[in-house]
């Protein structure tokens, strides 16, 4: 199929950036979206133009490196997948596809479609851990039974890949789902309870410092999350935060 691509080009953080139109031809419907981008880039290099920078790594939907706002949706029109798992059969011959970086002031553009997600790192560093030494002198793994229900809920929350689709799709650029996933994972486990109050306060404080917007419960994050993380976790985060501050 033949497609028109409108892609955000931005030389560097200081550059203003603009949408540039590209045509691609003979795209197989079996290609993944990023393979289509590879084909475009190969042709750009052949023409002595600069290829389009975009983040990607594992290309199997787990590393969270790939991003892209495709036709106005984080990770494109399909559900429960990342951009690298999106296939061209989701599009029709002759389509125009808008490709933009994940937008939020907390995610400044590095180049073209590559954004800086260090804000997520700093939030994790503020408390996304259990303070236990890796000395090997911990107690036996089975010494504290954990209900299967809570272990499963914790696992669901822990499946967050830190891609930032929640922020990108939220009209307010809120990072609540990301923070909620980590807070929930630990809040549901006895090991995480000890420092639960400090954790939630510190992580939310860092989240606010990074300049993310407020959550208005639109639920867009949950729909666009490639791992389907539920906004029930946000309710849990709110509860945990209230319990910690009041």
């Amino acid at each position: 199929m033949n497609l028109t691509l409108k892609i955000w080009r931005q030389k560097g953080p200081q550059d203003k950036g603009r949408m540039v139109e590209y045509k691609v031809t003979d795209i197989s419907e079996h290609m993944s979206f990023l393979e289509m981008m590879d084909v475009l880039n190969e042709s750009l290099v052949a023409k002595d133009e600069e290829p389009i920078a975009f983040d990607h790594d594992c290309r199997e939907g787990i590393c969270g490196m790939c991003s892209l706002q495709i036709n106005g949706e984080a990770h494109g029109p399909d559900r429960g997948i990342t951009t690298c798992q999106l296939h061209m059969r989701m599009f029709k011959d002759g389509d125009t596809i808008y490709i933009e970086p994940f937008r939020a002031n907390a995610f400044p553009v590095i180049k073209d479609l590559v954004v800086d997600r260090m804000a997520f790192e700093r939030i994790q560093q503020a408390g996304g851990y259990i303070s236990v030494n890796t000395s090997g002198n911990t107690q036996d793994a089975n010494s504290i039974p954990i209900s299967k229900h809570n272990a499963d809920l914790s696992m669901d929350a822990a499946s967050c890949i830190g891609c930032g689709a929640c922020v990108a799709s939220c009209k307010n650029s809120s990072a609540m789902l990301f923070v909620a996933a980590k807070v929930s994972q630990f809040a549901l486990l006895p090991q995480g309870k000890v420092e639960a109050k400090d954790r939630v306060k510190n992580m939310v404080m860092q989240m606010d410092l990074e300049g993310f917007g407020n959550c208005t419960n639109t639920g867009a994050c949950e729909i666009e999350c490639p791992k389907g993380i539920s906004i029930e976790n946000i309710a849990r985060l709110n509860r945990e935060y209230l319990a910690a501050t009041i």
Binding site: N105, F212, I223, Y241
Partner: protein, 218 residues
């Protein structure tokens, strides 16, 4: 903003609590008004009580006004902050793909409701304040029904009321369950969602029916 309200979650909790307060107020307001459909006397009695009771006038009323003002001011502050969180906009943003119109446009439904409240104040509250506290006219416990009927003679005003209440319904369709989510109570999601839908439709519908009833029956 300092103290407790400096955190984003605290702000949304405050927003939710003021919303829940207003939700309760709306229910009471409708309960009083709906009696006007059946009995002039009952309506007058209730209105007289509300209008003259010390607690209602000097405790509940200021709290209510504070609640309304707080909800609006906080709503605007949050909207402004949220807009600031993404200064370079998407060229293409398909918000409809993942969130309802209601949830994405609370500020607009809110603005319509604000306009309506202004009208409502001009219609009822200012004359009422004038009647009671400025001109200090003698209380007539039977005047309320007539005043009510009188307001619904102009079709334009009735039209404005109807539009405002449709927007209120849209505001509530998202707002009701959103308030519960914000205070962390979504354990009962399905129950809250259904209740929210019923409430969001029933309350504005009640007010619309009252307006139309008096328009056609005066």
């Amino acid at each position: 903003m300092s103290g407790f309200l400096s955190s984003s979650i605290a702000r949304k909790v405050a927003m939710a609590l003021s919303a829940l307060f207003l939700i309760i107020f709306l229910l009471i307001h409708l309960t009083v008004n709906i009696t006007s459909l059946f009995s002039e006397n009952v309506f007058n009695e209730l209105s007289h009580f509300m209008g003259t009771n010390f607690l209602v006038q000097f405790l509940m009323q200021p709290i209510l006004i504070f609640g309304v003002v707080f909800h609006f001011v906080m709503g605007f502050v949050l909207e402004l902050k949220n807009k600031q969180a993404r200064s370079v906009k998407y060229v293409k943003y398909n918000g409809a793909a993942n969130a309802t119109w209601m949830s994405r446009n609370m500020i607009y439904s809110g603005l319509v409701i604000l306009a309506f409240i202004t009208l409502h104040f001009i219609d009822f509250w200012f004359p009422e304040m004038n009647y009671k506290y400025i001109e200090v006219l003698p209380e007539d416990p039977t005047r309320y029904f007539e005043e009510l009927q009188h307001k619904f003679t102009n079709p334009l005003r009735v039209g404005a009321y109807v539009i405002a209440f449709v927007l209120l319904a849209l505001h509530l369709l998202h707002g009701f369950q959103s308030a519960f989510q914000s205070i962390g109570l979504n354990k009962y999601t399905n129950c809250v969602k259904s209740l929210g839908k019923i409430y969001a439709v029933a309350i504005p519908a009640g007010f619309i029916i009252i307006a139309l009833f008096h328009y056609f029956n005066h």
